[in-house]
Every structure is written in structure tokens, then in C-alpha cells.
Point group: C2
């Protein structure tokens, strides 16, 4: 029995998200099916983060225990030859049997991508949030700083999320742009359900001038979901890295 950690990239466009479900195509199921073909017995994998339908990953991780005879450095090529084209295993490493991709994670990095131009981009339609109105990036950068540190983020959680503790710490929130693309990079010790998308939606409201950067502090403190901005769409979100 060996314990393996996988590093995974996927295009979330044609998936109903990461987590296996009764109906609908999921990333977890595709990888489990590919592993079963290699190992000749069913395998359950544990992902670090449950991305939603349409959300992409540059550096998702997953762990599993199995009687796998393929040398660890050949696992990516072996799985990629079976997996559909919208998933790629970028790396595999042997880990301690106590390792669990989700519980062992110390933090995560997400990237939220916005296409800011008066007219939509077909090439980015599945890979960025299209915002035609002009955005004040300086204000978005200023607002971003108020999210840093340890806060109760319960106002930045989708209703339906049922965690006991909504306190999280953000280490980094950078807003930068190149031509018409704005990227929001967020790093923290953990994220509530839809938290990054609500932060992105709130920063877009700041960029449009509808929320003042200085009000972010109070919006967080209030814990009221309705005071934050709308949930930005799934296709702009990328799980960038899981930190161990």
C-alpha cells in the first residue's frame, strides 16, 4: 500500500465541479476512473478543495492510498494517457500514510480573473469575468488591503454554507492588471464557501465606484452578506495552489 499526492490542472468549463456526485461529470470521478484502470481496483481520492462547476484549477491536489506498482514519476504520464483532455496530472509524489490532501493543507492560493473592456472577448468567455464598465484599479487595490489579516468572514460566505467557525486569515490580496486583464490573487489559511467569488464581486463594486474602499472594514465587521457585493461568476476563478 502506497500513499500518493497528485498535483492537478483542469479546465472547469465542462465539469459539474470537483466532487463526485450521482449525476454530472466531475473531476474527482474522472481521476478515480483513470486510477481504477491503472490499479485494477476501485480507489477513492481526497481533493484539497471542492471547486464548483466552471471553476478551474492550476494546482489542485488530491491524495489516495492504493496498491499502485507504477513508479511515482511515471504516474502523471500513465494517468494523462487515460484522462480526458480537460484534466492533466502535473505531478505525483509519495507521502506519509497519514497525509490527507484536505486536512494537511496549511493554506490555499486563488486567482480571480476579470476581463475589463467595453466589448466581450470570445477567447476569454470561459476563463474570465467580463466587466464592460470602467474599473478604478487603484480603488480596488486600496479596498483589497482591508481584507488582510484575521477576520470573521461570515458576510463573505454563500448562504447554505454551514461551517461552525467563519474566522479565516488572509495573508495576501493583490490586485494587478495587464492591458485589459485584471487579476486578484488571494492567499489565506482557508476559505469559506464562495468567499473568493464574493470578495471579487465586492472589489468589482469598489472598482465601479458603488462601494467606497474605506467601507470594506465595516462591511466585514457587520457580517451581513447583503452589504458585500454579488458573487462573481465561476469562470473567473482558479484554484492556484494548495500550500502544505
Amino acid at each position: 500500500m502506497r500513499s500518493i499526492k497528485l498535483l492537478i490542472e483542469y479546465d472547469g468549463t465542462h465539469f459539474c465541479g470537483w466532487q463526485r456526485q450521482v449525476e454530472g461529470r466531475t473531476v474527482q470521478e474522472e481521476i478515480e476512473k483513470a486510477l481504477e484502470k491503472v490499479i485494477k481496483e476501485p480507489v477513492k481520492i481526497h481533493g484539497a478543495g471542492r471547486t464548483d462547476a466552471g471553476v478551474h484549477a492550476l494546482g489542485q491536489t488530491a491524495s489516495f492510498h492504493a496498491n499502485i506498482t507504477v513508479p511515482v514519476d511515471k504516474i502523471p504520464i500513465a494517468l494523462n494517457s487515460i484522462l480526458p483532455e480537460d484534466i492533466s496530472i502535473l505531478g505525483a509524489s509519495e507521502v506519509d500514510e497519514s497525509f490527507h490532501a484536505r486536512y494537511a493543507a496549511k493554506g490555499k492560493k486563488y486567482i480571480y480573473q476579470i476581463y475589463n473592456s467595453p466589448l466581450r472577448s470570445p477567447l476569454l468567455r470561459n476563463y474570465a469575468y467580463f466587466v464592460p464598465q470602467p474599473l478604478d484599479i487603484g480603488k480596488m487595490q486600496e479596498a483589497g488591503q482591508y481584507f488582510l489579516g484575521t477576520h470573521d468572514f461570515k458576510g463573505f460566505m454563500a448562504s447554505g454554507g454551514s461551517v461552525q467557525d467563519s474566522i479565516r486569515t488572509l495573508y495576501k490580496l493583490d490586485v494587478y492588471f495587464h492591458e485589459k486583464i485584471i487579476k486578484i490573487e488571494v492567499e489565506g489559511n482557508g476559505f469559506l464557501y464562495n468567499m473568493v467569488r464574493i470578495i471579487a464581486g465586492t472589489l468589482v463594486e469598489v472598482g465601479k465606484g458603488k462601494i467606497d474602499p474605506k467601507d470594506i472594514k465595516q462591511i466585514i465587521a457587520s457580517g451581513i452578506r447583503d452589504l458585500a457585493g454579488p458573487t462573481a461568476p465561476a469562470q473567473g476563478l482558479y484554484l492556484g495552489e494548495v500550500i502544505y
Copy 2:
């Protein structure tokens, strides 16, 4: 009767190319159908370049004559509200009635994108040519310079292309990279059928060490298709700009 020039971006993945044909979805047909809805009569548009299936455009142009009452600056929004999501009209301008997008073009700029990494990228599967072997970019840059100037490019034309004159002038051929992405930017007064994809395929052979940069001069002079590299795949190619 007004004469209009359109600037067009499209994702070529789900198209059988630009040019209208009996069967299969084409960019020309989609735009003509959208224009007909706006103008209430059939319109024929003339594209500057006939891109193949899977080839993308950042700056395709097309011209047409029609009794269109929509103000010219509202044409992009009016058409985009009808067009499918994989096409976007980025601009419209009024031109002289003698203007023809193809015959008036003085040159074109193409970009060919390569993803150079040992393992494939799902996010770029439709937007770059995946080359897993290491490529020597210095050699590719050196080889690129031999294409500059005026040459008979008949060895860099797909068999089946039936032009009388295969002499073309390239003003620019730059190879640059950022992380795992290599871009080849080519600008010239005109291009033969598949010329950019054969140049890209040849530069990849140079990058792999299979063709010496110094041999490019002779390969061009020979005019023999088989001495050049293979035709690189469609999904890496972008029509960047049409120069007037």
C-alpha cells in the same frame, strides 16, 4: 447604402473556419445571419483572411455594403447581442465604397502559440500547440531571422494551394517566451495557404535540434515542401491584425 469595416475576435475551436460553406458552422455565416437580423435583408461580407477550422482571430476584419441605419459606433453592441458567444465584434467604421477587406489589406500579423512543458495543459488545449520535448529557443530565434525579407515561399505552402505567385515578404518574425509559453509573431505583406503553420512546425524542428538554423536559407531556396517541418496544428494559430 453604406460601406462598413468590422474588426472581429473569435474563438475558432467550434468553427469549421471563416469561410461560409454548405455544411458546418462558420464565422462568416454567423456574422451574415446576425447582420441580416439587424438590416432585414441578406448581406454578404468579405473577410480579410480565410482562417481554417480551429484557428482563432484577435483582429480579423471584414467589409460589406448595406442599407444599415444603426449608427456606426453602435454596430458592435447591436451585433454582439445577436452573435454567439464565440464571436465578438470589437469595432466598426465607415469606409469608402471601394474598400474590400481582403484586397485593400497591405499585410497581416499572425501569432503562433506553443505550450512547451513535459505535461499537457488542459486550459490551453484549444489555444496552443503542446510540445513536451525541450525546445532551444535561442536556435528558434536564430532560424527565424532567415525567413525575413522577400522569398519564394513555395516550400512553405500546403499542397493544394493554387496561387500563381508564391513570392512573399516577411517584415518581422519574433520568437519570445514567458514561462512555458512560446510565441512566434510573424508580419508580412501576405501569406500562402498554411504558411505560418509550416513556419511554426519548422521552427519547432529547429528547437528540437532536428533542423540546423543555418539550413533554413537553403530549405527556403529549395522550394521543396518536404524539406520544411510539418504543419503545426490549427489551435496554436491566431490572426492578430490586418494592416491597411
